[in-house]
């Protein structure tokens, strides 16, 4: 019965256009950003460093992980939006009615949605990596830098990017169930991820006592899980930002996903469908 529910959720996603529209934007955005970074640091980094300017202090060995992890450090908002939209559209188009008629056990439906979106989040992660590694590594090798693709640490990092993207999609489903209004949910996701959290991470990194809190912010936990991020390398050099171990970051992020989904189930998901 659970498998049927999962197959139904897969069909729901694949029979409307949203999944590939978001995917194209994600791949384009990640390709552009990682290409730009690889070009700037790979092509100009040497000149900037030798001229003694204020270029960020990024060593040659740190460069490939930073560029590859653009897939999640910048791209993570896409699986969140995907999960949120997939859930809120059920409220918006009143499709919870036929959904709960076909499968009256609502917990089963939510579980199937979480599993399905986790799979799509992972697929988004792979697609984003194709963009960031594909373009990033080409530019790095063209400018005479190491691509680090022979290093098993690099591949472990790529795997953790995929895991992070899957968890972000689950967080999206939970948020969608918590905030059934589609417009409100999108505004909150974008405002938090693109504006509020970067500011909070920067501010918490300025004081020691706050840095301990800042590392538990979802974006910071995600970057800790992946193990590298343009954001942490830009601020860590200049400030005292702390970071969790990768597995701690993963647990924090997954915990947030489970709490959001659980609260969503207890609030809107169990409500009367009128």
């Amino acid at each position: 019965m659970f498998l049927r529910a999962v197959r139904s959720e897969f069909q729901k996603i694949l029979t409307v256009r949203m999944w590939w529209v978001l995917l194209i934007v994600l791949v384009g955005y990640v390709a552009f950003t990682s290409g730009l970074l690889a070009g700037v640091f790979g092509g100009l980094g040497d000149q900037l460093a030798s001229s003694g300017g204020n270029a960020p202090d990024i060593t040659d060995a740190a460069l490939p992980p930073i560029i590859y992890s653009i897939a999640s450090s910048i791209g993570y908002v896409f699986p969140v939006l995907f999960g949120t939209l997939a859930t809120t559209s059920e409220f918006r188009h009143q499709t919870l009615t036929p959904t709960f008629l076909a499968q009256p056990h609502r917990g089963t439906v939510l579980g199937a949605k979480l599993v399905t979106l986790a799979v799509f989040g992972a697929l988004y992660g792979i697609a984003a990596l194709v963009a960031s590694v594909g373009l990033g590594a080409s530019i790095l090798s063209a400018t005479g830098h190491s691509t680090a693709l022979g290093d098993s640490d690099t591949w472990a990092l790529l795997a953790r990017v995929v895991l992070a993207m899957a968890i972000w999609a689950i967080i999206g489903v939970g948020l969608g169930a918590l905030i059934p209004s589609q417009v409100a949910a999108i505004v909150i996701v974008l405002a938090f991820t693109q504006f509020l959290e970067p500011i909070l991470r920067l501010m918490t990194s300025l004081a020691d006592w706050a840095a301990g809190i800042g590392q538990y912010l979802p974006g910071a936990a995600s970057d800790a899980l992946v193990g590298s991020s343009i954001f942490t390398s830009m601020t860590a050099a200049a400030s005292g930002a702390q970071s969790l171990e990768w597995w701690q970051g993963g647990l924090v992020l997954f915990g947030m996903a489970i709490v959001a989904a659980g609260l969503g189930y207890l609030t809107s998901w169990r409500k009367d469908v009128t």
């Binding site: 139904s8 069909q11 029979t15 188009h93 008629l101 009367d272 009128t274």
Partner: protein, 298 residues
């Protein structure tokens, strides 16, 4: 088709905060006939149907299909089919995909999708996105969803709404056919005239309470005689003293329980000239409005 079961509603109640939407509602819907579920807008019809299907949690009482609540049914969509009033479609999904998404979740054979689309006359539009459908086509798609599992019980909320005259004619004969196959069919409407040609039994609710449960024929108010005279007061007292049941209207008198010939004879005996003597068939609609309207029971 799966076995038809009765729909049993027992003491069903629902309150939304302070508002009592449905109060202690009890009735039974039998297989093999079309039962109309009637009441004015806001009477609690949709809330009752949604409680029946487990979408709204009752404050009290129960609603079961052959003794089992909807969520306890082993194969819900194959036991009860429903078309609910709200258009619950993703506008970007085609009709075929819409049905297939829910058919998959309910474990219904894939070939049923094309069968029911053909049955409701949407075969040629199956791959068109539902966002471009007319209201009538959406109603047909809702009906296709109801038929998807070939269920023995059908619950249809305002299925006539938005259909053109041809569609209305089609659905009337379709409902008859479904009941003729032995299915249990419950059809809601806020207008008796919409369904009176296709239903045998009626359940009427008003302000969330049951006001009538029985055959359609027994609801008919019968015939009354409209009568008037230049001496209306004299006529009224003459008819009353002759034992007639008289109601004073603005433009004359209405007599129930007597034939036109009787009323004419009473006037002749009293020597009162008549200016009007007309039999009037009050009909179902009037009886319905008397039950649910301002003059009805509270």
């Amino acid at each position: 088709m799966s076995t038809s079961t009765t729909i049993d509603v027992r003491g069903l109640s629902k309150s939304f905060g302070q508002v009592q939407a449905v109060t202690d509602l009890s009735f039974t819907v039998r297989p093999g006939v079309v039962t109309g579920f009637l009441g004015p807008n806001g009477a609690g019809k949709t809330t009752t149907l949604r409680m029946l299907l487990g979408l709204v949690r009752p404050s009290g009482g129960s609603a079961t299909f052959g003794g089992r609540a909807y969520r306890e049914l082993a194969r819900p969509l194959a036991t009860v089919g429903m078309a609910l009033e709200a258009s619950s479609f993703h506008p970007g999904r085609s009709a075929r995909h819409h049905l297939s998404v829910y058919g998959t979740a309910a474990g219904i054979a894939k070939n049923r999708v094309d069968e029911v689309l053909g049955q409701v006359g949407l075969g040629d539009f199956a791959d068109r996105r539902v966002g471009g459908y007319s209201l009538g086509m959406r109603q047909r798609l809702g009906l296709a969803f109801a038929l998807l599992g070939d269920p023995g019980v059908l619950v249809l909320d305002e299925p006539v709404n938005g259909l053109d005259p041809e569609g209305i004619k089609w659905i009337r004969s379709f409902l008859r056919q479904l009941a003729g196959e032995g299915r249990t069919v419950l059809v809601s409407s806020h207008l008796l005239s919409e369904v009176q040609q296709s239903v045998d039994q009626v359940v009427i609710i008003s302000r969330g309470e049951l006001v009538y449960d029985g055959g359609l024929a027994a609801l008919d108010g019968g015939t009354r005689i409209l009568v008037d005279s230049p001496d209306r007061a004299g006529l009224e007292s003459a008819l009353r003293s002759a034992g007639a049941d008289v109601l004073a209207l603005e433009d004359g008198l209405a007599v129930t329980g007597s034939s036109a010939a009787d009323v004419g004879a009473m006037a002749l005996t009293a020597g009162i000239p008549l200016s009007r003597l007309t039999p009037e068939h009050t009909g179902l609609e009037k009886a319905f409005l008397d039950l649910v309207g301002e003059g009805g029971r509270p």
